[in-house]
């Protein structure tokens, strides 16, 4: 019924990320007798090939963000493996983990919480260059300006604080910061859902342009199938911590096999909805 793991045939040599049987359980707060277990992830397996975009779709609470955080190494899974470019990140020492982290970078949902309000946005973009000691300080300055240019921001913005930028501009800064260390994989967790629709389109287009130009693979986490159809090569549908369906975009969008996917598809708003009698 469901197609877990490999939706399309992928040769191991081309594989960038493989998540195998990942599980993570959280406990709700409160007194011990009232605590409940929440399965954020239950035996989740996905793969991402080099240069490819995997869309992860699911409603809020389906475990999408936990999956992203596990891949980034920010949350420790209870069981399962995250294998990046042939290395299991759980077994890595600090130095090797740091070199993997440099190649896997996040873009966050909330453009207001993802930049330190006291840091100039240039400093935020520069952060990874400094901590991974990429190039000389002068190189880093130049690279920051290049990155601003790359994401369609005036390099003069580098000296500004996030407070003076719009949501869309901040998200561009967030993308520039993610690109700074030249990653192979970007984990984008709802990168456009906090933005206006018109700005959403701009940021999505920027995202796709950058992927085409730089060949970065990405895991694009969203609740919005309409968005994911736009950017993804493949889709994994997450429902209550379980991957219920994976496959190529066309396959999942045109011939969904799981009921939940059909429900999600039905929820996509149509361009010109018919007026409903209640209104």
């Amino acid at each position: 019924m469901t197609d877990r793991g490999n939706g399309s045939a992928s040769s191991p040599g081309n594989q960038l990320l493989r998540v195998e049987g990942l599980s993570k359980t959280f406990y709700t707060g409160g007194p011990p007798w009232a605590r409940r277990r929440v399965h954020a992830l239950d035996d989740v397996s996905i793969t991402v090939e080099k240069g490819q975009t995997l869309g992860i779709v699911g409603e809020s609470g389906s475990g999408k963000s936990t999956l992203g955080r596990c891949i980034l190494g920010l949350t420790k899974p209870d069981s399962g493996r995250v294998v990046f470019d042939g290395q299991d990140i759980a077994g890595l020492g600090p130095r090797a983990l740091s070199s993997v982290r440099r190649r896997v970078q996040p873009v966050f949902q909330d453009p207001y919480g993802s930049l330190d309000p006291r840091w100039t946005v240039g400093r935020s973009v520069r952060e990874s260059l400094d901590s991974y000691r990429i190039g000389t300080p002068a190189d880093r300055d130049r690279r920051v300006l290049d990155l601003f240019d790359r994401v369609g921001l005036n390099p003069d913005f580098a000296s500004r604080l996030p407070g003076s930028l719009s949501g869309g501009q901040r998200q561009r800064v967030g993308i520039a910061a993610a690109l700074a260390s030249e990653p192979d994989l970007i984990i984008a967790d709802e990168p456009v859902s906090a933005l206006d629709v018109s700005v959403q389109a701009q940021i999505l287009n920027l995202f796709m342009d950058l992927q085409n130009d730089l060949g970065v693979a990405s895991v694009f986490i969203t609740h919005d199938l309409g968005v994911v159809e736009h950017v993804s090569d493949r889709i994994a549908v997450l429902y209550h911590g379980v991957v219920v369906e994976t496959g190529d975009v066309d396959q999942v969008m045109r011939r969904p096999t799981h009921d939940y996917t059909r429900t999600l598809l039905a929820a996509i708003p149509i361009a010109a909805p018919a007026p409903t009698p209640e209104n």
């Binding site: 980034l72 982290r101 996040p106 993802s114 330190d116 006291r118 901590s131 967030g174 910061a177």
Partner: protein, 290 residues
Amino acid sequence: MTAQAPLVAATAVSHRPAKRRTSTRLLISGAIVLGVLVLIAIAAPLIAPHDPESVVVDEVLGAPSLAHPFGSDALGRDVLSRVIYGLRTSLAVSISAVLASMIIAVPLGLLAGYFGRWVDTAISRVLDMILVLPAMLLAITFIAILGPGSVVAAIAIAVIYLPILARVMRTSALIVTRNDYVAGARARGSSHFRVLIGHIAPNALGPVIVQASVLAAFALQLEAGLSFLGLGTQPPTPSLGGMLSDGRDVLLQAPWVEIFPGLAIVVAVLCFTLLGEGLRRSFDPEGVAE
């Protein structure tokens, strides 16, 4: 319909700057008066018209005059000079106590809030142990062990406020830690140390500074209380609390011996409180609207 929008916009705009101005005024007035008090305290030897400890038998309980604007006390000592020196002692004890407390509380709260888990549990439980003891009792216990004096009073006050400041810092650090830019900084290769120093501390320190300013007011009162009981600053060194104690015996004959140090305490406490309130509002512009 079109008139609606500008109206809403106008109220929204006019509300906030007015509130902001109040908070700035509080902050500035508190800071200015406190600055003057601190200057007076620092320059005490230059400003004080008389030696605060010199006993002049002729002038016992002298009423305020040109030579002694605040009068003189039961030993004929100049009250103005004693208030100036007393202020010096009280400010020195309260400010240094709060600063010492902060130096220990900030790192503890930072670590507890950022790392959570067992680090938080270990630090928080130890702080709770201090917190359950009544402040005055704790201070008196300290003095019973170490003996009375300004330095011991400062140490006791620092220990009393340590858990309060550390808790504020912990909560603040906990909130800041949840921001995506902290996760982002880790993903961008920053070490825990760099994240703590670069991101968490600067963004979490605001509430602690506010709390410290408010606690300085309480510290001043506590020091005065201890000195009043004879447990803090020891005579003949002038202290505001000690002067209150001296003045109590001659309250009816020579009220100025009591009134002026009392006023000095009120003004100093008020300054710290104003400063704290002003800082709180300026650190928390959202809360001002409420």
